[in-house]
């Protein structure tokens, strides 16, 4: 089943002359990991905000086209339904904290949707473990580090067990160690949970190996949408559209250009190493 289906989607913010996105067609299968990439101001956040239903409910502007989530128009869903079905993590974790302690932050959404106490306790224990924040529960959210804040933000949304989980540049404000933690969590989520994950990211190196589908948003539209192997076939095209390819893939592309490598380009570092070893093994002495 399609988790998300967008047809001729367009949105213009009030007071602006141009559309932020227009003529967007996109299908996302259920239980896939989709990364949305592209240069700044290309429309990535607008796109995912439309999927979440934040646009048009929280913004003034002009809407065109349609977005369906599990077959229903997102604009017909109530805020409660949207909250339960589609989770959204913002790039600035500080901006989404409204409670006094991490524990309250984690249960806030669960209280809003009226879950029973036993269910709340169970989900609290589960999500603290998944996000590795068991020892932070009693702390105020503004007293923890940036990486910890983002893990709390992810956990607070994950606790609601949404079917679609959108993360808008979750690592943009983090140090390298914090970024690694987040990607570890995303890896675990992909492997262990039945979730459709949509991640807006600039860190292609780490997000590409996780992706089932990569979507390039450029100049208010979708320039390319394909599985990673196909996505990185034309590296020059990607670089012309502001995308820096993973180094392993770029290296393998050099080999391919020399005629030393056949087939699709590897995305994972290990696959690139294996390809290089094959090339070396077949090289004449």
């Amino acid at each position: 089943m399609l988790a998300v289906s967008a047809r001729d989607l367009g949105w213009k913010y009030s007071g602006r002359n141009n559309f932020a996105i227009e003529h967007v067609d996109l299908d996302i299968e259920e239980n896939t990991f989709v990364s949305i990439v592209g240069p700044n101001e290309s429309g990535k956040t607008t796109l995912v905000s439309c999927i979440k239903g934040l646009i048009p409910s929280s913004f003034h502007g002009v809407w065109r086209g349609e977005v369906e989530v599990f077959g229903e128009d997102v604009r017909t869903k109530s805020p409660g339904e949207l909250a339960k079905e589609i989770g959204f993590v913002f790039s600035d974790p500080e901006a989404q904290f409204t409670a006094m302690t991490v524990e309250e932050e984690l249960v806030f959404g669960l209280e809003n949707i009226g879950l029973p106490l036993a269910e709340i306790e169970g989900r609290l224990r589960w999500v603290s473990e998944v996000a590795m924040i068991e020892d932070l529960l009693d702390k105020p959210p503004y007293e923890i580090s940036g990486g910890q804040k983002q893990r709390v933000a992810i956990a607070s949304v994950l606790a609601m067990k949404p079917r679609i989980f959108i993360l808008d540049e979750p690592t943009s404000m983090l140090d390298p160690l914090g970024k690694d933690f987040i990607f570890q969590i995303l890896t675990n989520l992909k492997q262990e949970q039945d979730l459709t994950l949509i991640v807006v990211e600039h860190n292609i190196e780490q997000v590409a190996p996780l992706s089932d589908l990569m979507v390039l948003v450029y100049n208010r539209g979708i320039a390319k949408a394909a599985p990673p192997a196909e996505f990185f076939e034309d590296i020059e095209f990607l670089e012309a559209h502001g995308i820096q390819t993973p180094q392993a893939t770029a290296f393998a592309n050099l080999l391919k250009q020399q005629g030393l490598l056949q087939g699709s380009l590897p995305i994972h570092f290990d696959d690139a190493v294996a390809a290089a070893e094959d090339v070396l093994a077949s090289a004449p002495d």
């Binding site: 007071g15 929280s58 913004f59 003034h60």
Partner: protein
């Protein structure tokens, strides 16, 4: 032709929403900080206090209408307690004064169609005469009457206390209020939370 920032555009619909409650809370938070730090940093005393909080009250109601008016009487309850400027019963008795100190500016700007960024002489006049002087005259009168009723000042000291309160508040709030309106209003007007009416 004068720009009327308060008029709704054709087809424009404005409704109170979550963003207004959030802005109310954030503004109250700012008021708590400003009120507390202001009183502690410049400890003159509870009657002739140099209190920049009135600027927050006036500016809040200009930008956010009644939401600013609510913040105007809520934050002093907490900031007075934290700074020690007034005990709780006195702060509760101040509520009408604090509300008027905020809403005088908010009402007058909408009534006389003044621009929040103080663009014309009329805007400055309304802000100064009503938003600052009249508001603080009322606030000082109410406040000192409350202090007298609570036995914290003598009847003979009433007029001195009023004068000290009025002057100390007016100067602080005129300076800070004008700065905030001049430099931040253009940003605020573009936001969802800005209220053209009293609630949205």
């Amino acid at each position: 032709m004068e720009e009327n920032v308060w008029a709704l555009e054709e087809g424009e619909v404005r409704r109170p929403g979550i963003v207004h409650i959030v802005m109310l809370a954030l503004f109250t938070g700012i008021g708590i900080v400003v009120g507390t730090f202001g009183s502690l940093a410049i400890p003159i005393g509870f009657v002739s206090a140099f209190w920049p909080g009135q600027a927050i009250q006036a500016v809040g109601s200009i930008w956010y209408g009644m939401w600013g008016g609510i913040a105007a009487f809520v934050f002093p309850l907490i900031s007075n307690a934290m700074s020690g400027s007034a005990p709780l019963p006195v702060s509760l008795a101040y509520i009408p004064a604090n509300f008027v100190q905020g809403m005088a500016a908010g009402w007058s700007f909408r009534q006389f169609k003044c621009h929040p960024a103080l663009k014309t002489g009329k805007d400055w006049l309304v802000f100064t005469l009503i938003g600052i002087l009249a508001a603080n005259a009322f606030g000082a009168a109410w406040g000192t009457t409350v202090l007298r009723l609570f036995g914290l000042i003598t009847p003979d000291a009433h007029s001195v206390a009023w004068a000290g309160w009025f002057l100390g508040n007016s100067v602080a709030s005129w300076v800070l209020g004008a700065l905030l309106l001049k430099f931040i209003s253009p940003l605020v007007i573009r936001t969802k939370a800005f209220c053209k009416g009293y609630w949205a």
